[in-house]
């Protein structure tokens, strides 16, 4: 499944990033690498974007961007 499908308060582990290009590089730089545990913290009031917690810091992505991260639910 992909990261955008995970509901708030659920945790998952990253399997791979798939987008390529600038988007993928950004995700890699921010620590979205295989094996990392990631928790969905909350949706924005209008549902998009979403806030995540990984490696002790918080980061928000749009759903369309989170779709490019493959994960497995923990």
């Amino acid at each position: 499944m992909t990261l955008d499908e995970i509901k708030p308060d659920q945790e998952c582990e990253i399997v791979d990033t798939t987008s390529g290009g600038i988007m993928e590089q950004r995700l890699l730089d921010m620590g979205f690498i295989p094996g990392t545990r990631i928790k969905v913290v909350r949706n924005a009031p209008l549902v998009d974007p979403v806030e995540f917690l990984l490696k002790g810091y918080n980061i928000s992505l749009r759903h369309s961007e989170a779709k490019q991260v493959e994960v497995t639910l923990l």
Binding site: I22, Q25, I33, R42, V47, Y57, S60, S64
Partner: protein, 835 residues
Amino acid sequence: MSDKSQKIMVALAGQPNSGKSTIFNILTGARQHVANYPGVTVEKKTGSFRLQDDRVELVDLPGTHSLTSYTLEERIARDFLLNDKPAAVVDVLDASNLERNLYLTFQLAEMDISLVIDLNMIDVAEKRGIKIDTQKLSQELGAPVISTVGNKGKGKRRLKEAILSASKKRQAAHFRINYGDDLEPILDSLEKRLSEEMEISSRYPVRWLTVKLMENDEEAQKLVRKYSQKSGVILKLAEEKREAFKLEHKKSPQKVIAITRHQEAERIVEASVTRSKEITRTLTDRIDEVACSRYFGPVVLVATIYLIYELAIVQGYKITEYTWPLLAWSRDLIASLLPSEGFIFDPFFRSMPIWVVDGTIAVLNYVPIFLILFALIAILEDTGYMARMAFILDRIFRHFGLHGQSVLPMVIGGLYVGGCAIPGVLACRGMKDEKARLATILIVPLMNCLAKIPFYVLLIGMFFAAYKGIAMFFIATITIIIALSVAKLLNLTVLRKRLRAPFVMEMPPYHIPTTGGVLRRCLERTWLFVKKIITIVILVSVIVYALIYFPGISEERKAHFISQAEQAQKIFFKKTGKDNPYAGFMAGDNLMDFTRYWRDYKKAKMGAKGKKAKQAVEQGFREKNLEFFKIVKRGKYKVKGEMIKDKHAKKVYTAYKKLGKTTNKLRREIKEETIITSYMGRAGLFLEPLTRWAGFNWRVNIALMSSFAAKESSVATLGGIYQSPPGEKHRLEDRMKEKEKGWTALHVLAIMLFMAMYPPCIPTLLMIKVETGSIKWMLFATFYPIVLGSIIAVFIFTGGNLLGLSGMQAMFAFYILALIVLVLMGLIKREQEFA
């Protein structure tokens, strides 16, 4: 000693929000210089401080998570490190986030840089139960490690010592990442090949270049092309190795490189960090539970925006009531130094400088507002709430090609009523998304800035007096509706090809901002603004003055006016009578002296508030010239405490009053004729056949055109054009209605909407030029609002007339239409995000 001292260049690098600027400030104190990196809008902050016998030049680099060539900030930081070759680099790390921060440290180390590791925010780390073994960390990285608490100034001395020894040694950190058995052999062979190229390998760190080529970094490839004769061979070799790696391992080298760096960071953290407690819920979490929640989030956001508006715009405006007299006083001071005014014609070297000074203080008047605004923005930035604003609003703004971060510039520009586009444009700085940033810069001037408000109030007073509240609400909100549609339109057209950045946004933990930091930033920005703007305002107002006052009225007309003035003076003397004891005091040049005395007296009396002040004015003028004083008092004055009625003085008073009226009338006529025959006036007349479709006659044209220099002047110019008949004092609304009998509410509505879409003032245009780095965008920002405003005005006026709508009907119809357009615009699908 000073001539022997060396200049040592040192740079501060680090991830965003790690405290670089704070460290910069404690190291340099107040000595700093803020500018932009050439050609781009990223701030370049340099400062210097003494270190024993040497002078250190410190450069604050933009904060970056990584050093790829994808974002502007990263490119700037990287180019600086590569080309300016600082003697040492202080890598500022957020100790509470060590693992992620090390990711950048590795990349710095790879660049063969003499590093000093600054473990900042050690207090935050301790609070979270994170204990870092600095010795171990120093061993691992092969670089000195200093812990600091930036906002408390802790660790400053040790940091300086470390900087000194690192810059003296100029020895690169001996840390080297092992990218694993799959990649290392490839890197090795490519590195060998590159070292054979003399020029490039002497210019750039070879290992770094090798890694970058494997990462398929475009800028690194450019370097190879530039500095190596065999660039074709090398790039082809790198490309082949990359492709082969991808095929064999099903992963791109850049992914493997990034993963290895993260793993290495994890390993080092494991080796040097002990956690005493596991904190699951930080204070930031608890705040965000409310601040970003479904229902409270928007409420908090609106409250924040309202607070900014209230404090900066409303309260700031109140402060200007206190600072204005100061400016007015300096204006009078300057005026008193200039050649004095004439009877009916003022000398050029008086009227021109006064015009310029008026234009300048009109802008300076807003400085209190800027001070408050900039302080509030600094607080928003420092606390971390800015990211939350973007988080909450992104969904809405994205539909119009904007970004969650667009809201702040729009608020500052005057989202509701009253703002200022200059700091609004400036506030677009932090936006990473180039496309959204440009769109925001271009629509901020459509908001209702403070200077437009008096114009609205005047026009609403003319035809919508019964519906003041509704009309004001209409004009305040219609601008947002139009601006959003415009943003989308720009996005689909002129900005189509611009780069979009991924949204990926860090939500930093909340910080309590420091007073010093906020003050410093707010003063810095205000000063920058004042310096830049004032010079331009002066230049432009000289030009506008020339357009409004030249070529001036003909010699014939001049002679005509002068003879009329002389005629009036003759009548005055006749009425006074030859045997009047005051006749001598008024003869010859004395009449001019008296005229000035009279004007000054009237002005001083008007300006004096309260009994005491009035008495002081009386006393002052009495001492200045007793004979004149007797006249301006209509012959009623006290001598040694006794009231005297002076018949002769009263006679002079009555005669002069008549003369004064005549001269004022002449002055007004001269001014009107000057404006009509000026270049601007001719343009106004010339355009009338066109602007008639929008309901503008030449008088309106002149007023609108002259607003270009500063919108504050629009009401003043109208005041000049619609003079009240001599002897009668009517409000400007009434005078305009009197003169423009044919006007309907549609005329006024069209003018109002044109003003709402009015092109940015000169200072704003200048800001746009600075922030976009291009004259092209500045010109675009000038002309598109004119086109848009004209279309809307014609639409309202001609359309409204054809349909026979009343002012209110036209207003409602237009509002609904604009809303429909807005919704349609929002529904147009956005193009694919990124390649």
